[in-house]
Symmetry: C2
Amino acid sequence: MNLTVLGCYAATPRTITNPTSQVLEMQNRLFLIDCGEGTQVQLRKNKIKFSKINHIFISHLHGDHCYGLIGLVSTFMLLNRENDLHIYGPEGIKEIIKLQLRLSNSWPVYKLIFHELTSLESEVIFEDKKVIVKTIPLKHRVYTNGFLFQEKIGERKLNINAVQEYEIDKCYFQNIKNGNDITLEDGRIIPNSKLSFDALPPKSYAFCSDTIFDETIVPLIQDVDVLYHESTFLESEAHLSGKTMHSTAKQAAIIALKANVKQLILGHYSTRYPSIEIFQEEAQTIFANVLLADDGKSFTFE
Amino acid sequence: MNLTVLGCYAATPRTITNPTSQVLEMQNRLFLIDCGEGTQVQLRKNKIKFSKINHIFISHLHGDHCYGLIGLVSTFMLLNRENDLHIYGPEGIKEIIKLQLRLSNSWPVYKLIFHELTSLESEVIFEDKKVIVKTIPLKHRVYTNGFLFQEKIGERKLNINAVQEYEIDKCYFQNIKNGNDITLEDGRIIPNSKLSFDALPPKSYAFCSDTIFDETIVPLIQDVDVLYHESTFLESEAHLSGKTMHSTAKQAAIIALKANVKQLILGHYSTRYPSIEIFQEEAQTIFANVLLADDGKSFTFE
């Protein structure tokens, strides 16, 4: 599992910082999460293959999370994309994109498939053989969802020594990986546990931005491997976090602690602060495993 | 008169080039012309004061000329702008901006005034004491206008030596600048030509992008000081320029020659070419005074 942060600063794009966008690589799938202005240039800078992005998740319709989407959709068009593109986001996102395509008299050859979200409850919005994605309803000034990306439990790993010892033919290997016992030609039944190891534990990633401090999300993100939680402010500006429906670094850490996550990543920093290290310091008074997102930073979780 | 090119490359924004946007400074007014994605960051990089921009002119609704507008409108909001903002552009531009503001539940405190254009004839769209702006109807794949910015003839310059010689009181100076003769106390009439010099000749700037080669614009831009004319292609790709309704460098030069402009600036280069100098070479086979626009380049015309 790999996370590349394309942008993680609040509000307006600046010469040195970018609004929210990140790319999650999970089981060889690339998921683009949020798409602030300039995301397509950040994708290029970080050498992410445009053609590998088939699913875009938009948390909410504030500009710093979505104003780069129409540009990316158009660039896909100019690059002669053919694969379907799925866009998941709040109701209205389809109207925004379609209106601009209509007025520019440009229509993609590829299929643009919108999945508009309206539910206030968590729901499964994507599922394939290896990954499942659920919404995390968040409380912000407009309708907002976080997203929970979960690997499914994978195949068991073949115990090479054991299959050689029992002289088991290759054609049974998939059967073993699927967890089945094997009957040898002499009639002996070899239990699967002797022929394979447990699959790697499935990884999970929760993206929670933008949101006020809200403990009701804790059960939805319980025990995740990695939680990205917004921390627009520090506690010294807690009065602003309530008013603008954002969180402080300390509040993000409280959520991480209560949800027993393995790793917290902070981001969506207000640009009023001189450095981002102070966000880490504040969060670590509550929760130890805190990393800082930053534009262009990549995290690998083994 | 000063022109700052924020972006002048066709199609998609890239790590090293930006889509169309430029700032024209004329008589202390800043006019923003087109607003591709990333324009607000380019404004910051080029140290242009956001608060001095009160008029934005959008040529057409292709993304590389307007996808940065909603971000700029939003940033003005976050910067607590109070001045009115006038936006001139094709019909539909208001719907694009208003829809996105409505769905993000964000409304500017400042007044956003749209001037939607539909005419196929040149028309005056802005006029104040010192400057007049007219449309230049262009032929492209969607409804498109170029813009002609003209200084008005300014006040005459006072001949300091002459007014001292005739002992003319200061309270008559404005009268003299306005071109009037002066009657002295002894009854003598001093003609204005003895008391003042001609005003500086008014400057003019024509922005023509995007457009197919179209000689019908020649009378509209006759004798302008500076013509920015798109040159997406070279003659070697003339077949593409017709198909996509763009111009070649040579065609831009033919327009400059026929319109008897003083200076041609080329831009809107396709990114297929290894360098932009070849555009200048091609144009100069037809017309001598050719400059090349480039991102971040500033031109001053005295």
